[in-house]
Amino acid sequence: MVTRRTLIKSLGAVSVAAPMFSMPSIARGQSAGRVVVVGGGFGGATAAKYLKRQNPALDVTLVEASGRFYTCPFSNLYLGGLRDFESIGHSYDELTDVYGVNLVTDWAEGVDGDAHTVTLASGEVLDYDKLLLSPGVDMRWGAIEGYDESAAQLAPHAWKAGEQTQILKAQLESMDDGGLFILSSPENPFRCPPGPYERVSMIANYFTNNKPNSKILVLDSKDAFSKQGLFEAGWRELYGDMIEWVSLSNDGRVVRVDAENLEVETEFGEVHKADVLNIVPPQKAGAIADAAGVTNEGGWVPIVPETFESQQVPDIYVVGDATVAAPMPKSGFCANSQGKVAAAAIVASLAGQEPPAPSWVNTCYSVLAPDYGISVAGVYHVADGQIAEVADSGGVSPADADSDFRRREAEYAVGWYDAIARDTWGTGA
């Protein structure tokens, strides 16, 4: 009986035997190849783990500024009162202790693609044969007038999990019953397309249990959103008229924020005053992608579909929310899936081989209430040189599903989180 572990070891031995002759850049490192991974989220941590699983002889260094990673997925469940904050935090212990990944707790500030080096905030310089960036997103400060980093302390985005999420949670808890929560949702593309709508669902769950006279207003810079029909039906069923959604065409686009007074102004001049104000601003690839020279004019990273190598700088691979990977959405699931494909491509390239044919999946669960979940799924491959959804597959939960179906999808959402957290960081949820 072949176990996976023996198989990996055997294949790894084959992989490292050949390449020393044809890949002179590797010879300077004393290993099968030196890979630096920047960013320890769903994309980067997964890539680091799967690089070592496929070829334990690789020298893999993960650069991540935070010692503990808090996930955006399920941060809405924390806001909704379904989970505690530490349940969405994950350490890097298993990546270092079990898989032998080198962890460097620091910021990556610069990349020299010609010299194949990464410069850290400490001044340390790391050499690489292959670099994998999983930088996530940065906010476009100033894209909405008045919304900058200091405004985000008063009107949080909470679109990177951590302190921002805790600020929003504290504001919701100190709000009086009967208050108004406003969420401003950006135009496409942005991290986690269903996220704003799951967030207001979870906050409605919190309000229903604690502050039932409160209201929720979503001001949107779009006319349509992910799983819209399912969300709107769920909102009516679960929360009556607590949640109101205002589309772009109905003057939903926020153009100015007054964080001190918790006021927003929309395109046609209407001013809304909130008791708690959550601005999800327009976004771009994380800063290190710019520093590495891999972003396009729109601020995102074009990649080669088969490998997720940058189209602009060789030997730099980029995965996750930072990339242009449509029709794949910017989700943690996709980042994990892309991290595995990029890891396999890097292992193959360092062994002087062609990359394996890629295959990706996305599944996004959204939890509307403790017993009410919905999902969207997609299977993706490369067709005619582009990432494409496999025909006649994927899609959203049925509109006419019964309550047992919704209950089981909420249960599977939790199962999904437990599994992907362990698959990514090697830890339980």
Partner: protein, 106 residues
């Protein structure tokens, strides 16, 4: 080279004739691991689930392929998401995935 036999035995008869034996074995295995890699996001690394979603590691091949084909055909009562996912794969890809997980010791 003890790994060759079980893997080679899983290949479609024609596939292996086209390339050298070692090359064919490695390429096929890598493809299956890429296909199967996406399953881990819900079913756990190597198909060992830590939560409410079923583990699939070490299940008999016949059980796994029958279940995957039934999902694809929309014939699993009460199925939630797997019909939508299984319909994204060819029969050959589903067979490779089923074989991959059947060969993992749980």
């Amino acid at each position: 080279m003890g790994i060759m036999k079980p893997i080679a035995g899983t290949l479609a008869a024609g596939t292996i004739l086209a390339a050298s034996l070692a090359g064919a074995v490695q390429a096929q295995e890598t493809d299956a691991s890429v296909l199967a890699g996406t399953c881990a996001n819900c079913h756990g690394t190597d198909g060992v689930s830590p939560g409410s979603i079923p583990s699939i590691a070490g299940q008999p091949y016949a059980v796994l392929i029958a279940q995957l084909q039934a999902f694809k055909a929309g014939e699993v009562p009460g199925a939630t998401i797997m019909t939508r996912i299984a319909s994204g794969y060819t029969d050959e890809e589903l067979e490779a995935i089923a074989r991959y997980f059947s060969e993992i010791e749980q």
